[in-house]
Amino acid sequence: MRASRRLLASTDEEAVVAPGNRRWSLRRRLTVALSGFGGLAIITLTVAPLLGPTPIGLGRVFDTSIPFADNVDAQIFFIARLPRALAGALVGASLAVAGVVFQALLRNPLATPFTLGVSAGASLGAMLVITLGVPVAVSGIPAVPIASLLGSLGAAGVVYSMATLRHRGLSTTVLLLAGVTLNSFFSAIIMFVQYSADFTQTFQTVRWLMGNLDVSGFQPIVAALPLTGAAFAMFATLPRALNLLTLGSDSAAARGVDVLRTQRVAFLSASLATGAAVSLSGPIGFIGIVIPHLVRLIVGADHRVVMPASACLGAAFLVGCDVVARTIMAPFELPVGVITALTGGPFFLWLLVRRQ
């Protein structure tokens, strides 16, 4: 057992270390990456609540002599901005790591957290609640997040059972095809629901699909936290196995990886993280595909570094984009998805060209 583990460690070390980083030990790479990306995330998270369309005084925010009910600065800081920044960090980190995991699982660089129908399922759930006005609110959590979470988990369940039904093990090809098909299928139902909805409802559904981090309070974050926490706990077990899985499932199995178990955990955790993120903020595109690639371009392909670095950069990037989205046209705000694609896209292309 010990021998096999040592073998496992040595092979993946050799196999997937990026060319530029060959001389650095894992510990050193991890320290540098985490202090860089983690520092960026912490700085963004600290600065984000201070910026916004309304000027607020930091002294007044923390002035306990003014009752909270009369202290608008404190209200804006604690009810509007801080939860918003935290939601952005949670969603950004979840989508970025889910992107990494899906790309490794499907061995496809174009995979995103939304490839396998998880977000389409979530969107369908949300659409149904918005248009049918289902009056459910479980212990204070409004119906839309719950429905979108159920939709995403339902979609993941369908795709997973498709991929395991007729195959020994988990067929990633079927997973991918079933996911893409389910995506179009759900999109068709979404279109139908939107078409039969009335005008204000259609507007609401379109706004939901654009994504929105304005969670107005900590409660939605607290509600999403157990799922996200469970997903990240599973993520923590994956990096080593994913390193080997990217070489192909046969090679991974030959090196002692329980391939099926790894695939299951990867699929479940990434779906859970994506479902929780989408139910919190709606589908915010681009992060799940660009952040993983960006991180790989910088730190190499080792998942032990890529996964934590992606979480940090995803969080920093989304929180930063949200600051831009809500200040650039203040007092109005742009959908944050517009900013993520507009800023991240060109930068990613530039990095891609420069590296080659």
Binding site: P135, A143, Q204, D214, P331
Partner: protein, 289 residues
């Protein structure tokens, strides 16, 4: 000489077409709820042969053919009704182009300000041969508006947020009336001060930060659906407890009104403004409806 004659024929034909077009239409198709209401209010109801799929008022339209709505007008169904006047919405570019190609006369309509509602009523009256009735309807509305304005004049205008839409049982994706358009005018006439006065657009997506910053003393929510039950409305009002520090929430001045009259800039607009006024100033000597 022949050329002159040809010109004469052409001009004569064009003027004939013009005359025919401006003749009183007998087969009118209305796509937008507000226009349908206006047509029936001014006595042009018997000339209406088709209405929009979302139109609900007045009850006389129940049996009329439906021809789609703002986003999905059914051109084929409209043309099949052989209309001699169609009133589409200004943004329905494709529909307008197709109807023009079919040679069907159109009346350009768009939602505007409160004053535009009265103008539209008068113009539609002239166009449909009911100028006198339309003028009377418009004057009646003007009188009602003057009465409401008189009843609330001199009173403090509470800073009010007029909420048009939001996610069910949540304060997310909240849309409120900005500083222009008929809904803003309705609020102003009813004796409220729109906290989003500064916004130039008609509808504004409002974030939590803007809600807290503008600190409305009254939240007035309007919904077109009349199907919401009392308990559902109660729950929707309770949703505002997410922001307990908002002045309107602290003073329990979140008011939820339902009814299509509140969101349709048609002949029932004075009645809707009176409901606003009553909500904002419960003790004002408002004329009873």
């Amino acid at each position: 000489m022949t050329q002159r004659f040809a010109w004469f024929i052409l001009v004569a034909w064009l003027s004939l077409v013009d005359v025919l077009h401006t003749q009183t239409p007998q087969r009118i198709v209305s796509v937008i709820p507000a226009v349908t209401e206006i047509l029936f209010a001014i006595g042009a109801g018997p000339q209406v042969v088709g209405v929009g799929s979302h139109d609900q008022f007045p009850p006389e339209i129940t049996d009329l053919p439906r021809i789609g709505g703002l986003i999905d007008p059914d051109v084929e169904a409209i043309i099949a009704l052989r209309p001699d006047l169609v009133v589409p919405y200004a943004t329905q570019g494709d529909l307008v182009t197709q109807l023009e190609r079919a040679g069907i006369p159109l009346f350009a309509y768009t939602h505007g300000t409160l004053r535009d509602v009265l103008t539209t009523i008068r113009q539609l009256g002239k166009r449909t041969g009911h100028a006198t009735e339309a003028a009377a309807v418009a004057r009646g509305i003007e009188d009602d508006l003057a009465a409401i304005a008189g009843a609330v004049s001199g009173r403090r205008r509470p800073p009010t947020l007029l909420v048009i839409a939001r996610e069910p049982y949540s304060l997310r994706n909240l849309v409120a009336s900005g500083g222009s358009g008929f809904q803003h005018d309705m609020l102003a006439l009813a004796g409220g001060h729109n906290v989003l006065n500064g916004a130039t657009s008609r509808a504004v997506q409002v974030t939590t930060e803007i809600l807290l910053q503008t600190a409305p003393e009254v939240v007035l929510e309007v919904r077109a659906e009349e199907t919401l039950s009392a308990s559902e409305i109660k729950k929707e009002i309770a949703t505002w407890q997410f922001l307990p520090s908002l002045p309107a929430v602290r003073n329990s001045r979140v008011i939820f009104l339902t009814g299509s009259d509140l969101v349709i800039p048609g002949p029932r607009i004075a009645q809707a403004i009176a409901r606003f006024a009553l909500a904002l100033h419960p003790d004002a000597p408002l004329p009873t409806q």
